[in-house]
């Protein structure tokens, strides 16, 4: 097990370096000459040539890539083209933090709604409640976020005036509730689906029957024997769900006017500020890979039955 964790830890930096290579390559394919973009309206052929040398744009590709990686390791993603005088990290740092908070809030919603509901549906198998929950969650899962978001805004902000229609006031404000719900409910649907399946599997196990047969209180069987074991496979799904949510949060940020990574990446596209876009893509990949790594390691620790090669 230790060997597995070590191997994962060794592979992760290589994976990220490859990811950085890919992102850097796409960045160099991007339209526009960085030298001209940074100079803006003052670009003359002479100045552009000097700027190209200053930015090291005439160096061969491998050297530029190694320089980029060297900078990234130190947290330096270069300078923004659009916001002159600011480094990429200064521009996207706060925005990425907002997105992370939004995603954590949504993940909380998904977990709190999804897991108990999935468990409940499995316990009710054979009654009308179970298919009802499954169908309702399937319908909610298929609703695109740009459907729910505008109508939630229309209802809660425009009609009822409970919250402002747009903006971000930090993690602990009622403004967070609407976007977190919009983002969290489809996630909850995924959790319900998997929690239901894994609970059903555990319920059929012999040790559950034994526990019930020896007269243990229902609460104890439900919690200790069923729920805790059914939660194990959910950990692996957590990784996919986080990835999916991060994608969804881009759309939600646009609609709710939240100054997060989603908005920043689109602005970067339209302003041709490609260092920002590549840094955002790379950083989100880093976060995803690390999240999956932590989940995998946690999985081996939580479930003693697993002996990974």
């Amino acid at each position: 097990m230790l060997e597995y964790i070590l191997r994962r830890l060794l592979w992760t930096p290589i994976l990220l370096a490859l990811a950085a290579f890919f992102v850097f390559m796409m960045g160099t394919c991007a339209p526009g000459d960085p030298a001209e973009l940074t100079l803006g309206q003052f670009a003359t052929p002479d100045l552009v040539a000097k700027q190209r040398i200053r930015l090291g744009l005439d160096d061969p590709f491998p050297i530029r890539y190694i320089r980029y990686i060297g900078g990234v390791v130190k947290g330096d993603f270069g300078d923004s083209y659009h916001f002159t005088g600011k480094t990429v990290l200064e521009v996207i740092g706060p925005k990425l933090w907002v997105s992370v908070q939004l995603n954590i809030a949504a993940l909380l919603v998904a977990t709190i709604v999804g897991l108990p509901l999935g468990f409940y549906a499995a316990k009710r198998q054979g009654t009308a409640t179970d298919p009802l929950i499954v169908i309702v969650m399937l319908i909610l899962f298929a609703v695109p976020v740009f459907f729910t978001a505008p109508f939630l805004i229309l209802f809660f902000a425009v009609k009822l005036h409970w919250v402002d229609a747009a903006g971000w006031n930090g993690f602990f404000s009622i403004q967070t509730i609407l976007p977190a719900m919009t983002l969290g409910i489809p996630g909850a649907a995924i959790f319900v689906r998997h929690m239901r399946a894994s609970t059903l599997e555990v319920i059929g196990q012999e040790y559950v029957r034994t526990a019930q047969a020896k007269g243990m209180p229902n609460m104890v069987v439900n919690y200790r024997h069923i729920a805790r074991n059914a939660l194990l496979p959910i950990l692996t799904i957590m990784g996919f769900t986080i990835a999916g949510m991060f994608g969804g949060s881009l759309i939600i940020e646009l609609i709710y006017g939240i100054p997060g990574a989603g908005r920043a990446s689109l602005d970067a596209v339209f302003q041709r500020d490609f260092p920002i876009l590549t840094a955002l893509v790379l950083l989100s990949a880093v976060m995803l890979v690390l999240a999956n790594l932590i989940i995998d390691i946690a999985y081996t620790i939580v479930d003693p039955r697993i002996k990974l090669r």
Partner: protein, 328 residues
């Protein structure tokens, strides 16, 4: 007499493969919800395919005297802020979705995913290692961000290329026909479409390559492509179909999201995502007023999107149950 009995037995020997698909179809039809979903999907796709016949207006026809109207006999779903007929635009938007999903699935999932998966699973070794590692790198990114990055960086190159082509061949209208948009979206969606399929096929092939009938084929000197496509591929078809039915919803949604962001299909060509974006989006003066005053303009495109994704999910679920009964 003996001849008749021989032909009889050969007929019963031939029937199982046909009966297999027939029994799957019979089991599928028993699932009422899934069957209805399939009909709805077929209906929506037909609407898109026959958009040129069914349209009541031209999708580009702007009428500034008739903007933001509700449904009427003239405009069945009403008109948008430029007075364009929403019904016609929804039809053409569906057509965009149909074209994108079908082409990305044929090129990405079926062609690339299945072939690479077959090779990786069958040859293993370094080919497999490289393919899996590349796939791992690609799947390290959040899908949508990767798609945005690809679409944003590829589009100018593709447009440039198409312009050059127009100049050198004298054919005009390549850029304005929307082919470039489709190409950009198709390429941007490639990482999303091929990796999952490849991993699925590879996993199946890893098991099947050890099967006795494959070994027998190999011993008889059957060529490798023949083993791959005649002996192994038919046995992977069921999981492929299940995966396609789940994946098409995701592909369709990605195109819609990309167009919603303004990175996919470019106006004036309609796309469901673009229609939603025009009402909800960040840009455009007074866009918030459209959603405040005319939220009903969202209904038609959004219901279509929602139905498509919901129905594909149901169909995928049912196919999964019907085709892989052991997986339950």
């Amino acid at each position: 007499m003996t001849e008749i009995s021989v032909s009889d037995s050969s007929q019963t020997e031939l029937s199982p493969p046909r009966g297999h698909w027939r029994s799957i179809w019979a089991r599928f039809r028993k699932r009422r919800l899934a069957f209805i979903s399939l009909i709805i999907i077929a209906f929506i796709y037909l609407l898109g395919i026959f958009a040129p016949v069914l349209q009541t207006h031209d999708y580009r026809e702007i009428d500034l005297y008739r903007t933001q109207l509700g449904p009427s006999a003239e405009n069945w779903f009403g008109t948008d802020r430029a007075g364009r007929d929403l019904f016609t635009r929804v039809l053409w938007g569906i057509q965009t979705t149909v074209i994108i999903t079908v082409t990305t699935f044929i090129t990405g999932s079926l062609f690339l995913g299945v072939t690479i998966g077959l090779m990786a699973g069958y040859f293993r070794g370094w080919i497999d290692a490289i393919i899996m590692r590349v796939g791992e790198v690609v799947s390290a990114f959040p899908d949508i961000l990767l798609i945005i990055l690809l679409a944003a960086t590829l589009r100018p190159r593709f447009v440039e290329f198409a312009r050059d082509l127009e100049d050198s061949t004298g054919i005009s209208g390549i850029v304005s026909s929307g082919v470039v948009d489709y190409l950009v979206i198709g390429f941007a969606l490639l990482p999303l479409s091929w990796f999952g399929m490849m991993r699925l096929v590879r996993g199946q092939v890893l098991v099947l390559r050890e099967a006795e009938y494959v070994e027998a084929a190999r011993a008889m000197g059957t060529s490798t492509p023949r083993i791959l496509f005649r002996h192994i591929l038919p046995n992977v078809v069921s999981p492929i179909i299940v995966s396609v039915s789940f994946g098409i919803g995701a592909i369709a949604l990605s195109e819609i999201v990309l167009s919603f962001f303004g990175l996919g299909v470019q106006p004036p060509r309609p796309s469901l995502g673009l229609m939603i974006g025009e009402v909800v989006s960040r840009t455009g003066a007074g866009s918030h007023n459209i959603i405040r005053d005319h939220p009903e303009q969202l209904l038609a495109p959004i219901i279509v999107v929602w139905l498509l994704i919901f129905c594909w999910n149901i169909v995928g679920d049912a196919l999964n149950d019907v085709m892989n009964p052991r997986a339950r």
